[in-house]
Symmetry: C2
Subunit: 222 residues, 2 copies
Amino acid sequence: MITSTIENYIKQIYLQQQENKSKLLPMGRLAAAMHVVPGTATAMVKTLADSGLVEYEPRSGIRLTHGGEQLALHVLRRHRVLESFLVEVLGLDWSEVHEEAETLEHAVSDKVLERMDLLLNRPQFDPHGDPIPTAKGQIKKIRLVPLTDLKPGHATIIARVADQDPAFLQFAEKNGLLPGVALTLIERDEQADSVQVRLQEKITVTLGGKAAEKILVRMATG
Amino acid sequence: MITSTIENYIKQIYLQQQENKSKLLPMGRLAAAMHVVPGTATAMVKTLADSGLVEYEPRSGIRLTHGGEQLALHVLRRHRVLESFLVEVLGLDWSEVHEEAETLEHAVSDKVLERMDLLLNRPQFDPHGDPIPTAKGQIKKIRLVPLTDLKPGHATIIARVADQDPAFLQFAEKNGLLPGVALTLIERDEQADSVQVRLQEKITVTLGGKAAEKILVRMATG
DNA sequence: AACTATATTTTGAATTATCAAAAGGATGTG
DNA sequence: CACATCCTTTTGATAATTCAAAATATAGTT
C-alpha cells in the first residue's frame, strides 16, 4: 500500500535527483532531505525497492524506476495544483501554501484534484513558478538560470522563486520578486557577492548571492 | 498527539452517543461502528481515557469528557464544511462527498477551513442537512422526526437525509428527497411497512419503512 | 442457583515507521 | 600501506494500530 510516508520519500528522491541528474542519489543525501537518521532511510529504501519504485544499489545509492518517477510526478502534481488552488481560490498567501499542500497532497482524491485543476483552468505553473505535471505524468522542462548567472544589461522575466521558506517568500513578495515580473540585471559584483536588478523598469533591488540564486529566470538572448 | 485514528474514534463515539444520549456507550457498539474487533476498541479506548478524552468504565462503557466532545465537534465541523465546499465550490455530487470529506477532515488546517467557511458564507447545514458546529464548538440542536412518525395530512419540509451511502443518496436525489423540499404525508400503512408522501405538491413517492426512517423533517404543527 | 448466550477484556503477534548506537566499507592522506 | 574519517548498513528498541483467539464477566432464563 502506498502510504504518505512512501509518497514523501519518492517525491524527495525525485526532487533531489533533479539536482544532480543521471547520478545515483546517495543515501546520506536522502536521509538529510527527509530529516531522518541514515538507518531509517536505508530501511525505507529497501521497502521502496521491494515495491519496484526505486533501484537500490547498496553502498552507492538509489534511482527511481519508471513507476517511481510516475508516482513522484503524481504527488508533485497534487502538491502544485493544491498550492495554486489555495492561492487562487481560497486566497491564502503564497508564502504559506507549501506547508498546507504538504499535508493535503496525501489526502485529496484524483477526482477532487481534477475539479480543482478545472476550476483553475488547468494551470501550467504553481504560484512559485514550478511546473505542474499533467495527470498523465508529463512535466514541462524549461531551462532556467539563477540571477547569479546573468550578465549586466540582460533583460528577462522571473520564472520561478525556488525556495519554500515563508520568510523568504514574504521578502520576495514585498520586493516584487514574483514569477512573471520583468527584470533587468544592473550589476553583478562577484567580490561583494551581490546582484543588483531593476524590476518592471522601476524599482532597483540588491540581493546577496544566496538569495539571487533562488530567483530563476528564463534564458533568453540578452 | 492527536492522530486521525483518534479523531475517528472520538467522532464515532460522539455520533453513537447522540443516538442514545445520557447512557454510556457500550464497547461492542463502538467496535462495530469502527469496524474493528472488540479488543481493538478496548485498547484504543484506554489510550483515549489516558488522554482525558473519554471516561471509561470497564465492562459498562464510555462517555466523552468535555474535551472529547469539543474535539468531536471540531472534527464534525471540518467534515461538514468540507462536504459543503466539495458540493458548492467544486461541484461534486452530494452522494460522493462523504467519503472524500472522511479523508480530508484530518488534513485541512483551521486556516484553510476558515477560508472555505467564509467562501461558503458560513453555512449552518451541510448538503445532507446535518448542522455544522461553529468554530467554538456550538451546534444547533433541532428536534427532527422521521417520516415514519408523521400523521396523514401533515405538511412540512425535509430537513435532513440521514444516510451516507452513495446509492441511497442517489436514489433520494433522483426522487427529489432533498433537504428543503416541501412534503406532505399522504398515507402511512403500518402493515405494509410503507409511507406515501407528496413532494412540492406534485410528485408522489412511496417508501418502505427503512427508507422513510432516514428522511427527517422539522416537527411543526400539522 | 445453575446454565447459557452474549459482551468484554486480555494476551500474543504483526506491521509501519522511527531512533540510537554498533559495526562494516570506502576513500584520501601522509 | 596504515590510519583516520566519513558514509552506510545492521541491530535492537519503541510507539501506534490492528487482528485472532483465549479468558473472563454479565445478564437472562429456567
